[in-house]
């Protein structure tokens, strides 16, 4: 066990951090959202640097792919880093396009990056198929919840190997948990700064114990989601750990959404202030894959449904 980055991981962190610092950030996310766009440039740069193809690399592997997803979300990157770096390579070997979306058969009414994707992975129970551009139809839906969203009206495509749906589902959960934990960390850090700046009754609101406890509870939930995600990725996303990470992350998403907005007051409702760039995504992420209900069901089935 070692909870600190090793030398290679640190090098990747430094290099990836430089790209995110230059290309991502709340300002960039705001501009992209205003234009109804997403960050293809960022994805391209990360792909060229090799940061989206580490899943199968023995020295890096899924843990580093999950870390990159967390760092990207924390930097408010508006791009499907987790799906491209963590989910797609778990079931598709070989060259991948940069922009990939994922959906479940029967639940394709609100798919992140559905209209922008070069490739769509469709899960159907334990099976999956992959549809390339031209093999699926997507209608953009106007959404305030942080991401470009589309309705998939048709998706053909080619079947993946037997059982690919079950595998992709596990990694999708880890990717969701990674994005939640990164976005939640961004929201918590921003709120802590706000609490230090915002003065009421002649004191920064960060000095009030009642408010301190609320943001600290968010910090604990975010830490839990961060580390549960990392462990699940490291261990190859077994059903139980992946579902557990997603549940922990769902709890964090729920708590961080309401508490950071509460602590930021009306300023947090404005699009001028950065908070919504992190928090509105949390709503989308915690409902993806049918949310807690589905994560809980898979955890129950994996851990307790068979007679011991």
């Amino acid at each position: 066990m070692d909870m600190q980055l090793n030398e290679l991981q640190q090098q990747i962190s430094d290099a990836c951090g430089k790209i995110l610092e230059r290309r991502a950030g709340p300002g960039r996310a705001r501009a992209l959202r205003a234009a109804g766009d997403f960050d293809r440039l960022l994805l391209t740069e990360m792909a060229e640097a090799g940061f989206l193809d580490l899943f199968g690399e023995p020295e890096a592997g899924p843990l580093v792919a999950a870390l990159i997803t967390q760092w990207g979300a924390q930097a408010a990157a508006l791009a499907p880093i987790g799906i491209r770096g963590l989910v797609a390579p778990s079931v598709i070997h070989g060259d991948l396009p940069e922009v990939i979306a994922i959906a479940e058969q029967g639940a394709m009414g609100a798919v992140r990056y559905g209209a922008e994707a070069d490739m769509l992975i469709v899960l159907d129970g334990d099976e999956a198929r992959v549809a390339r551009r031209g093999e699926f139809k997507a209608e953009t839906i106007k959404s305030k919840f942080g991401y470009p969203i589309a309705r998939i009206t048709e998706a053909k495509g080619e079947a993946l190997a037997p059982g690919a749906g079950a595998i992709a589902r596990r990694w999708w959960r880890v990717a969701i948990a990674a994005e939640i934990s990164g976005s939640a960390r961004g929201a918590v850090d921003l709120t802590i700064r706000y609490m230090g700046d915002r003065v009421q009754f002649d004191r920064p609101i960060a000095t009030y114990q009642a408010l301190q406890h609320r943001i600290v509870e968010c910090h604990v939930s975010t830490d839990a989601a961060t580390w549960a995600t990392r462990e699940a990725a490291f261990r190859g996303a077994p059903v139980e750990l992946a579902a557990t990470a997603a549940i922990i992350a769902s709890e964090a998403a729920h708590r961080v959404f309401f508490e950071t907005h509460q602590l930021t007051g009306a300023m947090g409702f404005t699009t001028e202030y950065d908070l919504h760039l992190y928090t509105m995504r949390l709503q989308t992420l915690r409902l993806e894959m049918q949310g807690l209900r589905a994560h809980a069901r898979d955890l129950i089935d994996a851990r307790w449904s068979a007679a011991s």
Partner: protein
Amino acid sequence: MDFEWAPEEAEFRHDLKTFLEAELPENFDAFAMEPDEQKAFSKAFAVKLAEKRWLTPAWPKEYGGLAQGPWQQLILSEEMVAHGEPRTAQYMCVNWVGPALILAGNEEQKAYHLSRISRGDVVWCQGFSEPGAGSDLAALRTKATWDGSEYVIEGEKVWTSYADTADFCFLLARTDPDARKHHGISIFLVPTDAPGLTISEIPSIFSAGTFNQCVFDGVRAPEAWRLGPENGGWPIIRQLLVNERVGVARFRRAAETLDRAAEAAREAGLLADPVIAQALAMARAACEAARVLIYRVVDQRAKGEAPEETAYVYRVATIRAERAVYEATVQVEGSGALLKGSFGAQQFGHALASGVATGTLEMQLNLIARDVIGGGRK
């Protein structure tokens, strides 16, 4: 960063599990025993552990330990609590009373007390809390006054677990009433049969014998009972309370209770009930959150750092886990959770006490706030 157990750690866990499964009945729970029965059992069991040097494996070899590192300490704690914590009060002796003696004891104190602890031959209680000193422990007023030949101890300690069965009390008392409050405190190693010390039970909503009051009425304490320098007790305590806060893998015991409750739910055909399913899943997730968060604490200790914020974060996660497991058990059992021996009745005390004992939830939140809001998060 990696989450792989080293081969020797995996082997240690395997050996421990094999031993405990052979020695203990299925679903053993020492905390379900009556106090006297529990003390007798834990003493006898500690002897078996001591024979394998598994009672004090983290201690230095010169004191009868195996000099094992923090990761093995975690494994030991996890496996012990997963098997009903057969050491009961011994964990306290081993986790922090012993280390306190190693840190600050003189040769006579080490020779006498460490050998007894490492044999499992003794039970300690901690004389910390007072009616006016709970979260603000340094506000304690029990005083030890030097009369020229001995200290004379006057005061009252409350909520003292195991005092009714303990042989010694690890006592904090004020030796300089004029010093600033953290600076005038000393530690005393007081036999519980010392004249002037009266121990009586405080009736509580928990099982019998959980809480005790210790009244010190002119207890005469020779200088040899003082641990460490006069007025120098607080730094020792501060260092060792981290052991107390993370020394018990509570999440693992809670997870074991949850597994048994879930098994009962499965047998009763209740796993499909959405309320029960959600409660079970949330509780499992909460236990797992605490488990993964203790890794950071142990990692820091293994690297020679003194964990603070990460330890408090872990404690908060543990409290959440204890409460979530209680909620899951009551959803599974319904009003059956009110009955003695039910999962709910077992978990009730843990869920309630975890947010108060060994530092309240609010203190943990304050301490985290100091780091993440105060000086800025690293």
